[in-house]
Amino acid sequence: MPHIIEVQHLFKRFNDLTAVDGISFTVASGEFFGLLGPNGAGKTTTIRMLYGFSPPTRGIIRVLEMDISRDWRKIKAKIGVCQQDNTLDPDLTVEQNLLVFAGYFSIPMRQARTRANELLEFFALSNRRRAKVMDLSGGMIRRLILARSLINRPELLILDEPTTGLDPQSRHQVWDRLEKLKASGLSVVLTTHYMEEATRLCDRLVIVDHGKILVEGSPADLILRHAGRNVIEIGGPDQALRDYLKANQVVHDDLGQRVILFSPGGNELSDAVRDNFCHEQCTFRNGTLEDVFLRLTGRELRE
């Protein structure tokens, strides 16, 4: 299968700061690929280099089997980008935003109108086509940015935190549309802070931190490898529990007020915990991508 994106030994330096520190990855055609990491990990910088906004300090980026440094214009004509910031034109109406943007791709007016109508329909914005962007809700703005990024029928869609700041209803609506696009065979690169979003949408993902890739795999695979199928959270742990964990060499994170046990394996451990150590509160749950993420990137704040 041809690679829609091929990144080799990519570096990006801003003065003293190395934002991207030699990462390599590929994205297959039709794949929904996630790029996760804490704030400042280098996600947006990487994404910006992928769509030719920002020139790499070193390394090779091939998109749609073309070199971004040489064929940027051809590549940009075939990809859609949904940026993190609201880059909609507040001076224009909803529909004008799509039509003017279509102009940047040199799409003929009639075709642009047809596509704009389809996209407004798809993103449930048809009844707001003459509204000013400033009058739209946060969810509508996001949907319009998404609609706009599809105006050129891209072969690859790049999404930089598409659901940040949305309420649960709007977020689920966006996910629903993204799943439909995925089903239609569109290749997608996604960055997000919502692990639930990445688990639900991504076929494969990488977690980056300090400009380097930490792990790569499918969400289920990463959960199995780095968190385990089952996780037990124990509130108000006592010394007896800590001694027991140490004696039995159980993989765990001790957060002081709370201990999290990973990969507890068979029933033996969970039974022992249930019987002896659940003084305050115990949660028996499945491992999640969030466990993986926090275990690999740590729990310290990044700002």
Binding site: F53, D85, Y104
Partner: protein, 261 residues
Amino acid sequence: MIDKRAISWRFIKVWNRNLVTFQRIWKVNFITPLLEPLLFIAAFGLGFVGIVGDIRYGGAEFSYTAFIAPALIATAVMNNAFFETTFASFVRMFYQKTFDGMLATPLSIEEIIIAEIVWSATKAAVAAGIMLGVLGAFGYVQFPYGLLVIPLAFLGGIAFGAVGLFFTGIIPTIEMFNLPIFLFVTPMFLFSGTFFPVSNLPVWAKPFALAFPLYHLVELARLLCLGRHETVPLLSVIYLLVFSALFTFLALVFMRRRLIK
């Protein structure tokens, strides 16, 4: 330094975007050039004429209002172009992130910059066209040569639009535009032969006026409207062309440096 492949006729698409937004509020956009000359003519025509009397310029006598009429068009060209590529471009670039959105399409940063400058010149030419109609109705414009003020306004618009965008490329915050306005625009507005002939200035002050692009624009506007001039018109045209080319280049360099990281 500048990639030639990054410059194509696609800039017209960005120019078109500005035209679409201009049309949305075209009534507001038309009021200023329509009323501004009337205000000036009323103020100077009614208030000044008795004190100032006729003005000797280029070997002929003109009423004071006829003398300043072409300069009003020239300063409107400067203001329209300069304010478009300073405040308006800065808002598009910094607050609205319009350029970021455009850079996710086949457009290049160079095309966006050129479009902003050409758009500011277009806006200046539209304003000049409207003012020409108003001032022509008062008999302050000799037709048909006066019509050439419209292409002249476009050239002047490129010059002031380019220098404005150069400032946008280097200015840290939007409030700082007060600096180039105070140090560059206001002195030009006052000392470019707009309200009195430069030949009235003391010898030491003349070179300053000659260095101002507005002086050359005013001179050319007077030539087309009144048929008289003080300097060599061809030199003024060359000055404006060189000034435009220099600052378009500087705008390209500094805007790219600011936006592409």
